[in-house]
Symmetry: C2
Subunit: 185 residues, 2 copies
DNA sequence: CTGAATTCCGAACAATGTGTTCGCTTATGA
DNA sequence: TCATAAGCGAACACATTGTTCGGAATTCAG
């Protein structure tokens, strides 16, 4: 590992404290004072590692590597290869993802995820033969919106469905429309 | 109108000040002190009308009446009757909606809109012959996610499309999938 | 027009949170 | 072992919140 053990320990304690507090009170309601109390870390120490609350939140993003650029290829005709693997990966990191992406998570991370996913979807549709256009961008927005909505509903406990069921629901909702649009380009 | 003219005036000034400030700095960054300065209203006056910042935000919701329960009926086979009228109504209230529903708007109103829209969509699908089920709820989440995504992208200036184009994109993306699912219930 | 009621003002206040500084202590790795 | 890097925590200035209160201004009813 890199750096001093104390550094790793401190950063980890702070990150975990924030996640725990988000799940208890929601991101907005968490104060830096809360965090350092929970993490049992000095105030000055906190500010020597992070600039503020949001910095801690975003520092967790590196652990959300499941937004990898898709294993390239896969079966040829299959759309949205990212969906099922991503949902399964999320289940494993349930606690972290629920804190970061749920309604209690406050938004910034959700926006981040939306952008990343939009890039993925756009590339995939281009690879499937779509032409870059304003209409394509709107289609991407719809697809991403549907997926993120599903993801949020899941981590917020609004559904007890399994990753496979969520994947199926996602595909059922958007795949026919997407294929129809693709055919027209 | 109801009540004292001073009351109406004060409330209006405060609401407009918040909308203006959101468009400038984003909801999170706006303080009560900012609001009363911009509205030119005494501090105690503010707190005699509103409990806090969010209260002002939500007080604007009554003006967003475009979430009406749909003009009932319409053509029989037509799905998502709410879409185009809603988008057109939004264009007329551009400034207010952009402040409330955009990324800068901070979330609470977005969540509100999602819930209302989910009820609308769910009722419409039930009326179209769907059975209440977990699968239906997931479908509703996807549809609402797609629409809200489109709406958000629009008010955040990510697209210059017209209401008619947005409506078309929405339908193209989700209607085939929805009809396919409906056929299976 | 007048007067009582309502509303507004604004200053002051306690309470909480933020981000920084500094001298001292402790843990780490070479 | 020992120089270095990290942590501690108290104290600080500052910003924001939400409340209180007496006096000034506006409004509406009669």
């Amino acid at each position: 590992m890199s750096g001093d053990r104390r550094v790793r320990r401190t950063r980890r304690m702070v990150q975990e404290a924030l996640v725990a507090l988000i799940l208890e009170k929601g991101y907005e309601a968490v104060t830096v004072t809360d965090i350092i109390a929970r993490a049992d870390v000095g105030r000055s120490t906190f500010y020597s590692h992070f600039t503020d609350k949001q910095d801690v939140l975003l520092s967790n993003l590196h652990d959300l590597a499941f937004l990898r650029p898709a294993p390239a290829g896969g079966e040829p005709g299959r759309l949205f290869a990212f969906s099922l693997p991503m949902l399964e990966h999320v289940r494993e990191q349930e606690r972290l993802v629920r804190a970061l992406l749920g309604r209690r998570g406050g938004g910034p991370v959700h926006a981040h995820g939306e952008r990343l996913l939009a890039g993925l979807v756009r590339d995939e549709l281009l690879a499937a033969g779509a032409r870059a256009s304003a209409a394509l961008d709107l289609l991407v927005v719809c697809v991403v919106g549907a997926f993120m909505g599903l993801l949020r509903a899941w981590v917020d406990g609004e559904t007890a469905a399994s990753p496979a069921e969520l994947d199926a629901a996602f595909r059922a909702a958007v795949e026919p429309g997407v294929r129809a649009v693709l055919g027209r380009l």
